[in-house]
Symmetry: C2
């Protein structure tokens, strides 16, 4: 169980905006708190798959905090879910990075590198079963203990454009994610 | 330009974890700060498309803060990008909601409702062009002024399972998102 009780900070103000002279609203930092924890076989960053395609057959458990259990109702009809989570071991970021699947330095937002200004990870995983407030999923590519931020149902009509998809520098390389494993490149120790 | 200078809080500590007696790391609230702002034609919540499929042909501008401009290099080769953003006008949440596309109360995480414990929105949009530090995109379904949290390249091999996709209560309903527009249901005014 995720121990929210140990967190001493007051709960986040969900509407953390301030009004500035132009009349525009601008945003103060928004605070997000984990709603659970993702359990995977991967306890060290090296050797962890870099995408769900590299984690075929790898089972994990999405432990939703009991307080949010009612919210996972009706998920059982979906074959896939989108997990949003915090890359909790990522520190800082560089705007130009050398990705796993390419030898060339690329703009950070054209990569899936975990070291990002807002270190939110996104993985589409297969929903195998639901046991109480835990989702058993296949295709986990995150570290054990990763804080869960959100679960959304995967809906091809919303999330998967079917025509004219081009993938830039990743063209012809994305399939290599099946074999690629994380090394030290993305982490500052 | 997004006015990060107006934010008085100190920068977030990216590794905001504390160690508890079990040796487990648990997470303090993580703070995210916008890296830009999304400009769309939608200035009120009512009438806004509920998904990119309902926003076909609707152009928007993703204004990336100048400080992060280097990070969007190499995006031009991608036809689609994933936008993560803050549902900044959403307040609170209910774990059971009546979605737009269905008359039945559903578990929150089986829906895409904006009022969520961590109010992060996700939209896959078509990248039309890049002008300086601004992405021109098609298929915007968010409110004008929405704070941008992250941009990721959309990669079908990572993000779009092609086989055996089932969509539970949304089966046969997702296409209705083309016509559906937001009403007051998801907002507490």
């Amino acid at each position: 169980m995720f121990r929210t009780a140990l967190v001493e900070d007051p709960p986040p103000d969900p509407l953390s905006v301030i009004t500035v002279d132009s009349g525009e609203k601008t945003m103060e930092p928004v605070r997000f708190t984990a709603i659970g924890k993702i359990r995977t076989p991967f306890t060290s960053r090296e050797g962890t798959p870099i995408q769900p395609t590299g984690a075929e057959g790898v089972l994990g458990r999405v432990e939703v905090d009991e307080a949010f259990r009612e919210g996972i109702r009706d998920l059982e009809g979906f074959s896939h879910v989108i997990l949003l989570y915090h890359f909790h071991l990522s520190e800082g970021f560089d705007l130009a990075v050398k990705p796993f699947l390419d030898g060339t330095v690329r703009g950070l937002f054209a990569t899936r590198a975990p070291r990002r200004p807002n270190a939110v990870g996104l993985s589409v995983v297969r929903l195998v079963s639901i046991e109480g407030s835990t989702l058993v999923v296949e295709g986990v590519d995150m570290l054990d203990g990763t804080p869960l931020l959100d679960i959304k149902p995967f809906v091809p009509e919303f999330d998967a454009p079917q025509v004219d998809v081009r993938t830039g520098w990743l063209e012809g390389k994305a399939d290599k994610a099946r074999e690629a494993r994380a090394d030290k490149r993305f982490f500052k120790d």
